[in-house]
Symmetry: C2
Subunit: 247 residues, 2 copies
């Protein structure tokens, strides 16, 4: 009953083919030629792994062997400091890579937690690097992904360093809808997969402030909130909030 055409095709249980995946235009193999894609299918033997809601795909300190492409579901990545402070550093959806933080030190630096029942493609990193030596397009795409991750993080730093709570939440919602739209979902209707507390951690706010700000946005006619269901009625107004409408 949930065999929707929007669900990625699971080709086989042991080998998994990028070429048949409906996320191939969003995920690692973007822009590869047919022959390059074949190459990837043959060599990048990625198995799939299920991660139940609330479970971790990997934890900080775990040995780094693979990166992961989100196939279905939704993740958060979480950085913990010694003294118990947590910071959500990212939310990942279909087609996005997890585990890039582990390349430098060969240990994962964050926890990756599934926010709903999820499946990921396991990409052994040694094989990815080996294949990148042969498939130029793969190398280039991988570099682009790493770079975009840096750019994304810079955006979060701007948000955390110099924006008000309302601006932060508006920017967060617009980023979320942007990414959902790229995956063929509605840009106006969003079902949040994370709690207010997780949003707050990501945005450097408390859960109360997130909740209050949602209510304020609703009172201002920017959106409707009903638990985790968000309907954005005025995306332009939200963008104006990000751009400092108060200024």
């Amino acid at each position: 009953m949930d065999q929707s055409i929007f669900r990625p095709v699971h080709q086989s249980t042991c080998g998994v083919a990028c070429s048949n995946c409906n996320l191939r235009e969003i995920c690692l193999p973007v822009g590869l030629s047919r022959s390059e894609l074949d190459h990837v299918d043959r060599r990048l033997v990625s198995s799939r792994r299920k991660v139940a809601r609330g479970e971790t795909l990997y934890r900080a300190g775990d040995r780094f062997d693979s990166v992961y492409a989100v196939w279905t579901g939704f993740f958060k990545t979480r950085l913990s400091s010694k003294d118990g402070r947590d910071q959500v550093v990212g939310f990942q959806m279909g087609g996005e890579l997890l585990g890039l933080d582990g390349i430098g030190a060969r240990r994962h630096e964050v926890d990756a937690v599934a926010l709903e029942d999820s499946q990921v493609c396991v990409i052994p990193f040694a094989e990815l690097e080996a294949l990148a030596l042969e498939v130029v397009g793969l190398q280039q795409q991988f570099h682009r992904i790493l770079s975009r991750e840096i750019v994304h993080d810079h955006g979060v730093m701007l948000l955390l360093g110099s924006m008000y709570a309302e601006e932060r939440l508006a920017a967060f919602l617009l980023n979320l809808t942007f990414r959902l739209r790229a995956r063929g979902f509605s840009a106006s209707t969003v079902v949040l997969r994370m709690t207010r507390e997780e949003i707050g951690s990501y945005l450097g706010l408390t859960l109360e402030t997130v909740s209050r700000t949602f209510s304020k946005f609703q009172a201002e006619g920017l959106l409707f909130v009903r638990n985790r269901q968000i309907r954005i009625t005025d995306p332009i107004g939200l963008q104006a909030v990000v751009d400092g409408a108060s200024a």
Copy 2:
């Protein structure tokens, strides 16, 4: 008179050799074998470029062609939003790479500004990618550098998202001295290359708060401040501040 042995050797005016550079154990060619290093010397024809204090190496929006390795001097990278908000997203010193933000979109996303008269090695990115296909160690090191940049940014997000002003400044100082120490400088004496305002932008604080916090640290005996000269007398105490000594 400033031909100190600590200054990198400038091999020639047109070609520049990594193998003779005293930063080679910190910079891009870390861990390369002798033959790999030769390969890099021959093929990665990096010229050098001088950037005067206050000048930009590149600006947001500029076409991306090269990445840059800081050879001498000190840089900041700065992200500007439409509405004029600035956020310093990083400080770069000798051996660190600049321009990685441009790989994804083929446009630079930040401004890179020299905070003192500086020189960088120009590394044409197309050649770097081409060479990375042949020199496995170079590919791996490049991936590590990109990954560490992501990890660093996560650390800044933790700092901005869930730390107090004192904790932020203490963490900043310790990070700075750590990096200086790796380059053979004293861990206790730091000459800041940036203004209070730039520190504040990086840490999500105002320049007044930075100044006040320096004064407080001095009053508590953690360090001596005299303009941009900092002498850290109690690094362990500073670390305790980072770890939430108030808690």
